[in-house]
Amino acid sequence: MSRLSEPAQAALRRDPELTRRNAVPPSAADRAALEATWRDPPGLVGWLSAVNHKAIGLRFIVTAFGFFAAGGLLAALMRVQLARPNSTLIGPDLYNQVFTMHGTTMMFLFAVPVMQAMATYLVPLMLGARSIAFPRMNAFAYWIYLFGGLMLYGAFALNIGPDAGWFAYVPLAGPDYSPGKRVDFWAQMITFTELSGLLSAIILVTTIFKLRAVGMSLNRLPLFAWAMLVTSFMVMFAMPAVMLASTALIMDRLIGTHFYNPGDGGDALLWQHLFWFFGHPEVYFIFIPGLGFMSAIIATFARRPIFGYSAMVLALIATAFLSFGLWVHHMFATNLPELGKGFFTAMSLMIAIPSAVQIFCWIATLWTGRLNLKTPLLFALGFFAILVLGGLTGVMLGMVPLDLQVHDSYFVVAHLHYVLIGGAVFPLLGAVYYWFPKFSGRLMSERLGRWNFWLLFVGFNVAFFPMHLLGMRGMPRRVYTYPSGLGWDTPNLIATIGAVTIALSMLVLLFNLARSLRHGTPAGANPWGAGTLEWATASPPPAANFDALPVVHGREPLWQPWPQPTQVRGLAVRQREVLVTTVLDAQPDHRLVFPEPSIWPFVSALATTVLFIGSIFTPWAVVWGAIPVGIALSLWFWPKPGETERELMLEKSP
């Protein structure tokens, strides 16, 4: 007590409960204090200051699904245009914006962020932690992502949406062939989403390494958390490549550099190397979280742990490594050395092996389990039919001669949707049905869930299977219309009918979500009888996640309970104190007080947005825009004596 300041000592005398610590089992007073401590503040300013990972996670998820819906509507528009040959419904200018926005939205604003969003909500709960690491940075990452997406759609609404494709190949995307600001908005959107993605990756890695429940050694880490750990490392290595590429593009466009100008010593292929060095791993960091959802769902609904845990983890890591050695298979049609391409064929085929390992392990799990055939499992089963087909067409695309025929044709459109919808969206929707009770406290309707699944499964195959044929028949991608009489008319019409069916299934999903939110059956803590820690707490979880932090004794904590419940005693309940554990064995390491909610991440994100958007119009925005960013960040990190005092109090109290 002696080193505390006089006012602090006085405060402590007035309210000795300031340093109260939780008991085991936690008392009602502990619970109330924890709730008051960890709750986000009320009111609009409070809402903007929120840092709780569940609040941020839900906003993140809802925003990402909002972009998913927007991207889906754009897809529907394209399918309507392509339903008949020589269609004049939308012209090339709008169509090229629409397909660029669709691809950009789905890849940058939906598929990658939604996985990080789900992880933001779920990973701390799964690890038995009070919070995600760096909660304010997490809020900042969300706001940056939201503002970047809104900027892109704002531009699109003003008819200055990007129109050079989600891959923005130069020289088409360069200053000479894409004058105006359209491509600049695209390139700056990359800056926003990649900044957000990199921050999320850092946050998730730190959370998974340092905030696990006591006893959850790395070999007991849930497979979904492994998937997110691997994904986050991939993000950290892949995203800098595209940020570099897009920054060079912005500089070519804005200040007249010549990175990509072959007439001045630049190289058009440089862009492709940098973009795909990011772009191919990107496919896998969309896919690997999907694998994580699969493992979570299959274990719960087959009533047993996943067969071959070590093989599964090693397969995830192997996939991550191999995915960095595939990028040239997007460039087989260029004039790179043929022998070099052979290496990338070998890598492209090799990456099928770790995926095969996981698929076989899941089938073995289903084979030896007791199946609870609920909607989440249906979506997981749908994954097999669709992803495996997409993986096999991927093997074809990895082989140079076959790729030379079907590359950049509708065959690739079919392939990539089989892989991404089969490999990521089906598991993701399964995950929504699976964890919705945790988010909301209510179960979703099984009946509507089945409708949702079957409409999507049938609609998906009707929409995308004919595209294989279209590609084989010579229809290139990214065309706004096509002549009749080439054998393309009927498959296109069928594809559009499939797209309508998909849209119907999404309406069923939306209805199911809205209805279940109000009228769903109350779920209780663990409606599926699952084995991981997020089901050990109430649904929806309290602000502090767990009244007392759990101690883990096995890989499936809820299926392998200790004879007596074991929990951590002695964490502060009046302050945001968390328990930091060691990286490998998750032994208690030290206690750490986490920051309070703050408006400054939001303000900093706004200031950063001004800088980013301003620099589309003038390079000087980087200079004057840095001033408000600097001010906001300084205020964010301004040391607060009161907080330090309170932390000292905790440290010194018995």
């Binding site: 020589n86 090339p92 200018d93 090229n96 494709g165 190949y169 020289p171 088409l172 000479d176 062939y177 072959p262 058009a268 009533r303 047993r304 071959g308 049609a333 260029t334 004039n335 043929e338 391409k341 052979g342 064929t345 085929l349 090799m350 099928a352 092996i353 076989f360 089938i363 289903l366 084979w367 030896t368 389990g369 007791r370 199946l371 609870n372 055939l373 039919a385 495996v388 093997v395 082989m399 001669p401 076959l402 790729d403 030379l404 025929q405 590359h407 950049d408 044709s409 028949r473 290139p476 990214r478 706004y480 002549p483 009749s484 009489g485 080439l486 393309w488 009888g529 096995g554 499936e556």
Partner: protein, 340 residues
């Protein structure tokens, strides 16, 4: 309503000659390059279908035979305590089989690559193909400079003789794809590429730009006619000849209109003062089947419509519309159509 009917009629009329192509289907190989790929394709489809069927059967069998258990069924954690030799054997076997299959596909792929690289190129004809937004220019090379000639958007090649295409792009990246002849090759500004073809069957094969290249990527077709050798030689001789000189008053007037208008800023007609290379060479435009890289059939009405308002037919195209007096337009069309 009436206008819409007319537009529909024009569209239908346009569709008829454009539909003269067979589907540009990669499984309808017309030469050795496409045939090698098709062979590999068939092997791969067979292997992949077998694997797909096996995975689905294993999955459905598992779902069908596994006992059911609700959320309250106790979870079976025995697998965490001791090994599961049965499933382990199956998984190892399945992974082993997959690896062997992948390795054989890799071998098949490399073998096909070699076959593609070994096309015999003796007595080949050389074509320098350059892609532009949104059309193709082709220069047929010859050791004798006087025998070289340039054309656009329609290639003719002799059946049975190899073709060496030197590929360049003048603006953005394009990609050449004629599925019945060979796989595709990108045309990248600043980087020359080579592609080799041989057509063993006479016919007209449709190709199209396969790399997104801007507003009119959709209408950037390339027609390749594989002709019997004598027919090809006749065509080449005709292309080598200077453009026809107008003989009647109407075409003569058309030539004057052409030379007096902005056409000459971009187009070339050999033997006249029009020598620009920014647009398709028009020296023999009358002999082509389509206009605007496959967007319109080549007849009087469409040519007139195209000259007057190209943006209506190919929005974003680099050719500006030109308003001619009706008589001038008629004469111009007659002149251009006479350039056979």
């Amino acid at each position: 309503m009436k206008r819409r009917c007319r537009a529909l009629a024009i569209a239908l009329a346009a569709a008829l000659p454009l539909a003269a192509f067979a589907a540009p289907d990669m499984t309808d190989a017309a030469g050795p390059q496409a045939a090698h790929i098709l062979q590999l394709w068939r092997v791969t489809v067979l292997v992949c279908s077998a694997v797909f069927a096996a995975v689905l059967v294993a999955l459905l069998w598992a779902v069908w035979r596994a006992p059911r258990g609700g959320a309250d069924a106790p979870a079976d954690v025995s697998g965490l305590m001791h090994g599961e030799p049965g499933p382990r054997r199956s998984v190892v076997l399945a992974v082993g089989v997959s690896s062997v299959l992948l390795l054989s596909l890799l071998l098949a792929s490399v073998t096909t690559d070699r076959a593609l690289a070994h096309l015999v190129l003796r007595d080949a004809i050389h074509i320098e193909l350059t892609a532009h937004q949104w059309w193709w220019s082709a220069r047929y090379d010859d050791p004798q400079p006087s025998r070289m000639f340039t054309t656009a958007n329609e290639l003719h090649i002799p059946v049975g003789r190899p073709v060496i295409l030197t590929l360049n792009a003048s603006d953005v990246i394009h990609s050449l794809w004629v599925p019945q002849l060979a796989g595709k090759k990108d045309l990248i500004p600043g980087r020359s590429a080579t592609l080799t073809w041989r057509a063993d069957r006479a016919g007209t094969y449709r190709g199209q730009c396969a790399e997104f290249c801007g507003a009119q990527h959709a209408w950037m077709a390339l027609s390749v006619s594989a002709d019997p050798p004598d027919q090809y030689e006749a065509w080449a001789a005709q292309q080598r000849a200077a453009a026809a000189t107008p003989s009647e008053s109407r075409t003569l007037r058309g030539q004057q209109v052409f030379l007096g208008a902005s056409c000459v800023m971009c187009h070339n007609v050999s033997g006249t003062d029009a020598g620009a290379q920014h647009g398709p060479d028009l020296s023999h435009v009358g002999s082509r089947r389509t206009l605007a890289a496959g967007a319109l059939p080549n007849d009087d009405a469409h040519l007139a419509a195209w000259i007057t308002n190209p943006q209506a037919h190919k929005p974003g195209v680099n050719m500006p519309g030109t308003a001619f007096a009706p008589d001038d337009l008629q004469a111009l069309v007659a002149y251009l159509r006479s350039l056979r």
